[in-house]
Structures are given as structure tokens and as C-alpha cells.
Symmetry: C2
Subunit: 289 residues, 2 copies
DNA sequence: GGAAATTACGGAGCGCGTAAAGATA
DNA sequence: TATCTTTACGCGCTCCGTAATTTCC
């Protein structure tokens, strides 16, 4: 029978791309990882790695086996989660969160840490685009991300936390109600928020498009009078409301803030507590669906 | 992370019901099994076994964990099967077969043994009713069974091998074409063939009903002039055709002979070769669907 | 008393770290 | 040269068998 600990190494290798990184991620020496992967190849009876002195990479067989490994690890995680059902939230749990969600939800999670001493909760920043892979790789257990349009995520399950309306943001006291002739601040081309901007303002003729990374950065620039932008309301919550004028779209457009977890982790009490706290803090926030 | 080898012990224990039997089945001593299950309980953090000096049984948590174990083991088996895809059929493979199917398919399987020296093929007899559990417990890898009516078998997949028409069998030269007043030979009440007999001859008034185990036994009794019976054609193939008269039903009734395997084992070359050989020998048999 | 479970103890195997060497950018 | 990988070697842990003990039919 294939050894599952070795499958875990392969799975991690598939994500990291090098033996050294795999070893570092799992707390082993490269030597141990190298030896175990060699043994796994012997068990499998097929070459799993293409090795050179300087780097190793997966063969096709290695990739398919790594995919199987994920299924196996998911099944084990589901078993562990089921064992813990009914118990106190405990163990280590990493929450990945987009920057604009932090002010909304981080305080609630801080309260969770206080309530459950057995819970080691870490909140990290993450991009929405990387969240799916990070969840699958078990780098994080819960992802709080924004979704700009519907998307299927097999093996993952999500809870809607907040509908976040998009608005056109002007510097306060700005005379015009039109984008034409203004400086339009927007995200780089690969960002989903950029796609939304382009779609909503497709007909407009701004004087220029300036690209910046980060909705918070763009919000700050608007508040400083640099230009106008399409932004979700929550990104404007952090700047002085007196400095910005918001105009909603008709029909209304929005992004969703969602919490995403692996289905196999869903039953962990710790995950459950986090999800409950996240939805609860939404209710306190007063936004309705 | 839960240790999968220990999960395998738990899974086997769930099927066997005792530590001694589990140890015997997997080639360990009871001592080893006892120790490993104790360790598994420590890992799980929950009581999995209710122990007395004389016997041990699963707690609720133990049962649910055993169910999870099956999922994990299936995933590993699927990974192994995928690794072997494209290779020569090899390894150990146990085929469970109902008695009436043996003369139809056993010769073909014998040929398979000759063709693939790496294949250790064992054919065992099995009752249809036990086949599903035996497959799940990995006692057998392929089951050749009869199906008297449609039945869902989650986690398993089946291939239809042969439509086996039911006939009314009389001793040769028997004058009457009616069951009334004859001795009706049939299976005990819990057998599916008995249900078919009762359904087909519900209105008849036999002089007596004599119960015997095994369709082949019943076929032999008919050929010896003891009585009449509802039988599948294949059960009559082994007795001297001169001694039996067959009358088909209208509308035609039949049972299916099917090969059933775990989906997780489906891709093993050895399983594939066996299934192919089984369907092929059906074609040679000349029966059409 | 016998069958089934557990505990004690010891040996063998193997997983992993240390150290060193090879290879490539 | 620095980094990534592999090999050699040895320590220590863990698994499992033997044997003895306990408990309940």
C-alpha cells in the first residue's frame, strides 16, 4: 500500500516545485525528503520526478499521483474533522484574508482567540486569486475573499458574508458627475476589479487611466483628489468620508465577500466557530443581503 | 495526521468484529493489532472501542471513523490503480463467483493465468448476498454474481455479462405442462431465486414445496425426476439435457449475471483484463443481450 | 479451561538528521 | 561560488512478535 506520509511529501512538492522548499515547508531536511520521494518512486514502480543536480520536477505520472494524493489527504482531513465534532474549537487554523476585509472581520476573529485558549488562530493577508490554490495546498484553512462574479470551486465550499456595492468615487466637492475628462484610477489589467471597472465605464472617455495595485491605495488617492475610481463601498470605509463623494450605479453592481473552506475541513469545530463568527460580525455590520 | 495503516486495522476490525480475527485476516498477531488500535485511539482523542477482557466492539465514534477509513483506503487504491494503468496485469486478484457462473467463466479466467505470469488469480465461491460486503472489505476484487432485480451499489460498478433466462424445468418425458399437483423444488425463503419462483408461480397449487440450497442441487433433483422447478438456463447446463424438459416463460423472465468491482479498483490492469475476459467469454457463449 | 484481550519486553527495520560530495546556473 | 540535489552513515524511534497475565464464557 502506498505510504501516505510520502504521498504528503509528493503533494507538497507539487505545490512548491523543489525538494528544498518542500522540506522547509514541512519541517524536514532536504535529505529526508529526497530519500522518501525516492522510496515512493520505488513503491509506485514509475518515475515520479525528473531529477537534475540542480532541480527536480514532476513527471506526468508524478502529477497524477499528486492529484490522487490530494484526494487521500482530503479524506483523512475529513475523518479528523469528524472526530473533533462536538468538541471545543482547537488546534491551528490559518485564515487568509483580502486587505479590504481585514477591518470588517479581524476584530471578530480576535475575540475568538480570547474565547478559545486551545485555538491557535493566525490571520494572513492573501490575494483572492491565490486563495483557491492556497486552500488546496493547506497553506490556509479559511479564505475570506472577494468574488466579482460567480465561480465554481470544486472541493471547496463558501459562505456569503457581505454584499459589497460598487460605487463611483469622486473627490469631495467634485463638480462633475461624469468620468469623461477625469483621471481614472484603476487596478492592473489582470485584476477582477479592473474588469468590473472596464465593464461599468466602457463608454466613458477619461483623460487618462492610471493603474495602481490595491483597492485601498486607490481609495486613498481618490480621497486626495487625484482622480476618480470604481470602488466597493468597503474599500472607502477607511478613508475620511468628508473627502469622498460616492455615486451608486443603476442598476446596482456589487462584489461578494465570501468565506471559503475545504469541504473536508468544514466540520472542524475551529472552522465552524470561525465561519459563525464571520457571519455574525456581518450581521452586526448591518448590511443585509 | 491519522495513521492510515492503523485506519486499515480499524476498518478491518469493523468488518471482522474481533481483534483476533482482524489480526488473522491481515497477518498480524492480536497483540500488534491491540497495540495499534490503542495508539489510534490516542491519536483520535476519542474512545473507538468498548473493551472487555473477552471481546471488543466499536463505539459510535469508532464506527464513523471506520466509515471514513473506507473512503481513505478507496482513494489510495484508486491511486495505485492509476499508477498501474498501461502496465501488464499483475499482482494478487481474488474473484468471487457464484456456483452457477463457474462453468461459464472459470475456463476463461484460467487462460488469463497462463497469459500473465505476474498475475496471481484466485477464484473463490461466494453467495451473491455476501458479494457486496466482501467487495467493500477487499476480501475479493471482482464479484461475478446474479442479480434478480435492479439494485444500487454505491461505490461499486458492474458490467452485465449474461442475460440468463428463467425456465420452468420438468423431468424429461413429463406429461403435464402444469405445476399443479407436482412437487415444486425451490430455494429457502431468504433467497432471491425463491422470490422469483413465488412471483412466477403465485397462482399454482403444487402438491408440496421442498426447499433445497443451491440451484445446481435443484437442477440435479429435477433431472432425477423428483419434481419441477423454476431455474435459470445456466443452472441446467450441467445436467444431462435428455433428462430435463424446459419451458420458457411468457413474457420472458431472466436474471442477470454481472461482474461487480470497486470503482477504486476499476483502473487496475489486472481488473481490466479480468472484466474483458469475462465479457469476451460471454460473446463466445453466444448469448445476446 | 479455553478463547480473547492486554501488558511487558526485546529485536529489527526504517525514518530522519548530520556530513560530505556532485552538479549546474 | 552558491544553491539544489543526492549519497553515506548512524542514531533513535516505532512497529511487531514472543511470552506472560487477566478476564469472562
Amino acid at each position: 500500500m502506498l505510504d501516505v506520509r510520502r504521498l504528503r511529501l509528493l503533494h507538497e512538492f507539487a505545490a512548491r516545485g523543489s525538494i528544498a522548499a518542500t522540506a522547509a515547508a514541512l519541517g524536514y531536511t532536504p535529505s529526508a525528503v529526497s530519500q522518501q520521494l525516492t522510496t515512493l518512486e520505488a513503491e509506485a514502480g514509475v518515475a515520479l520526478l525528473e531529477r537534475s543536480a540542480r532541480r527536480a520536477s514532476l513527471t506526468d505520472a508524478g502529477q497524477t499521483l499528486a492529484a490522487h494524493a490530494r484526494v487521500v489527504l482530503d479524506a483523512i482531513e475529513a475523518a479528523e474533522a469528524d472526530l473533533a465534532v462536538g468538541g471545543e474549537p482547537a488546534g491551528s487554523l490559518v485564515v487568509g484574508m483580502i486587505p479590504t476585509a481585514s477591518p470588517l472581520f479581524a476584530p471578530a476573529l480576535a475575540g475568538l482567540r480570547r474565547r478559545y485558549p486551545g485555538l491557535e488562530l493566525v490571520v494572513r493577508q492573501i490575494e483572492s486569486a491565490r486563495a483557491e490554490a492556497a486552500l488546496r495546498q493547506r497553506e490556509i484553512d479559511v479564505a475570506v475573499i472577494d468574488l466579482w462574479r460567480e465561480r465554481a470551486m470544486p472541493g471547496l465550499t463558501s459562505v456569503r458574508l457581505r454584499r459589497d456595492p460598487l460605487v463611483l468615487a469622486f473627490p469631495a466637492g467634485h463638480p462633475g458627475r461624469r468620468v469623461d475628462g477625469e483621471v481614472l484610477l484603476c487596478a492592473p489589467a489582470d485584476q477582477p476589479s479592473r474588469a468590473a471597472t472596464d465593464e461599468l465605464l466602457g463608454a466613458a472617455k477619461p483623460a487618462a487611466r492610471w493603474e495602481f495595485e490595491g483597492l485601498h491605495t486607490i481609495a486613498t488617492l481618490v480621497s486626495q483628489g487625484i482622480g476618480v475610481a470604481v470602488l466597493p463601498e468597503s474599500a472607502l470605509a477607511e478613508v475620511d468620508p468628508a473627502t469622498v463623494t460616492m455615486r451608486p450605479f443603476r442598476p446596482a453592481r456589487h462584489r461578494w465577500i465570501e468565506a471559503v473552506v475545504r469541504v473536508s475541513a468544514r466540520r472542524r469545530p475551529a472552522v465552524d466557530a470561525v465561519l459563525e463568527m464571520l457571519t455574525e460580525s456581518h450581521r452586526r455590520g448591518g448590511d443585509e443581503f
